[in-house]
């Protein structure tokens, strides 16, 4: 099975406090890694440090070790979504989806269908700023339906989503892993969907 991500001896600290150290794991195609831990344990820091948004104290991160071309252009084959939706409040849902796709290099995206898929049809002409947090989140999540990146790194993807939205998303996760993708995610909700290859990683954090 191809490995998508190999992490060795990761250590991070914030404000003099060690969040985690000697953290090692690998992620293979088809796997889901559920990062767990209390508030402030360093879950987000871990995810952000994987994509270089937080500087690490030590450790190595190897993207796509079996795939040299991918390893160099890992940004292109990795999809990261943080707490913030990266949705422009001034633009409509439709415009947001289209521009997001264009930036991702997908020009033939059917924005209408995507919006229908995430249940935003009928709201497409409103500025995103007038939508609820959950609806804005859905706009951002449309990326998951056209992205061809094999590795997804998702920080609290279920935040502000309703039960139906969560179900929809988990369904999409199942499709993704079945197609050979892999996911690292944090979530406070226990995952209701049981992936065959669900791994758990618990971060305790907090030691000096």
């Amino acid at each position: 099975m191809t490995t998508l991500l190999e992490v060795k001896q990761l250590a991070s600290q914030r404000a003099g406090r060690v969040l985690f150290s000697q953290l090692s794991f690998t992620l293979a195609a088809g796997e889901v890694l559920h990062v767990e831990g209390e508030n402030g344990a360093g879950k987000s820091t871990l995810l952000r440090s994987l994509v270089g948004l937080v500087q690490l104290r030590s450790g190595t991160i190897q993207f796509f070790p079996d795939h040299n071309e991918h390893a160099e252009d890992w940004r292109q084959y990795t999809l990261f979504m943080g707490h913030k939706a990266a949705v422009k409040a001034e633009l409509t849902a439709l415009e947001n989806v289209r521009l997001q796709a264009q930036l991702g290099g997908v020009n033939d995206v059917d924005a209408w269908q995507l919006l229908e898929h995430v249940g935003l049809l009928g709201l497409e002409d409103l500025p995103a700023g007038q939508l609820s947090a959950g609806q804005q989140r859905r706009i951002a999540l449309t990326r998951l339906w056209y992205s061809k990146a094999p590795l997804w790194i998702l920080d609290e993807p279920f935040t502000s989503l309703d039960t139906r939205g969560i179900q929809l998303l988990q369904q999409r996760f199942a499709e993704h892993t079945a197609a050979g993708g892999a996911i690292i995610m944090t979530s406070h909700q226990p995952l209701t969907w049981q992936s065959a290859q669900l791994q758990h990683l618990r971060i305790e954090g907090g030691e000096l």
Binding site: A15, G16, Q55, L208
Partner: protein, 252 residues
């Protein structure tokens, strides 16, 4: 390069290294600068045009010289921090910048004091003074940015970028200010076009310049040591270090 630098990238090693050098550098600064100032102020002959007021150059000129070099040093440190991601370089930034700012301020202040007997005014929009004033602004910008961040690491990185942008700008600023000065030539500043300085004045001046170099080094070393302690406060070696010193003082 990295192999050579690596042992020096450990805070503990740098702390002790600086600690070993500091007394020598500080001693040299006190000796040379003290000697130079006494020589310049008490023994050098008075100037035939300016009398005794010229003696301020023994402080003014070295301070002005090093105000600029320290900024360049600051930028080089910032560059090292960026290229090698060295946290020590980030800390050094915080140690160096205030020293440069103070030197710049001394240069400006002594310049103004000197300006009073020379031009009859505290402030003249002369090219050098203006450049010096802008340099002070640049220092203030770097310091303000550094302190604006609650996280020192981010502050140092941001301030480092600003220092690099500033150092690219300095030649342009100098050139523009000189050009502007010739355009708006107000006061006649012939005082600067004097015959070369007599040796009896030049030697004490050179001594003072050397003394200021050691002074700058001593101040930076001392600040760097403090910075290292501050940043590594939770590390065992710092606790051991501080514990030892407090025990020693108790014993005394």
């Amino acid at each position: 390069m990295w192999r050579w630098l690596h042992p020096y990238a450990k805070p503990e090693v740098v702390y002790h290294l600086l600690g070993r050098w500091l007394p020598w550098v500080a001693g040299a600064a006190a000796l040379i600068l003290g000697g130079g100032l006494v020589w310049g102020i008490l023994f050098a002959p008075a100037d035939y045009q300016q009398g005794d007021s010229y003696r301020i150059i023994f402080i003014h000129v070295p301070a002005a010289m090093f105000s600029m070099s320290v900024y360049v040093g600051l930028a080089i440190t910032a560059l090292i921090g960026r290229v090698w991601q060295l946290k020590m370089a980030d800390w050094a930034l915080a140690a160096i910048a205030p020293v440069g700012a103070v030197f710049t301020f001394i240069a400006l202040f002594t310049g103004a004091v000197w300006g009073k007997p020379m031009w009859g005014t505290w402030w003249e929009w002369d090219a050098r003074l203006t450049s010096q004033l802008i340099l002070l602004f640049l220092y203030i910008g770097v310091l303000a940015l550094y302190h604006a961040f609650s996280d020192n690491r981010t502050g140092a990185k941001a301030a480092g970028i600003l220092a690099l942008v500033g150092v690219i700008n300095i030649p342009i600023i100098r050139y523009s200010v000189e050009w502007w000065n010739t355009l708006h030539q107000g006061a006649t500043l012939t005082v600067f076009e004097r015959p070369p300085m007599a040796n009896s004045m030049l030697f004490p001046l050179l001594t003072c310049i050397l003394g200021f170099a050691f002074l700058a080094a001593a101040l930076i070393f001392h600040r760097m040591r403090n910075e290292i302690l501050r940043q590594e406060l939770h590390r065992p070696w710092v606790k051991a270090e501080l514990g030892e010193t407090s025990k020693q003082t108790e014993a005394v």
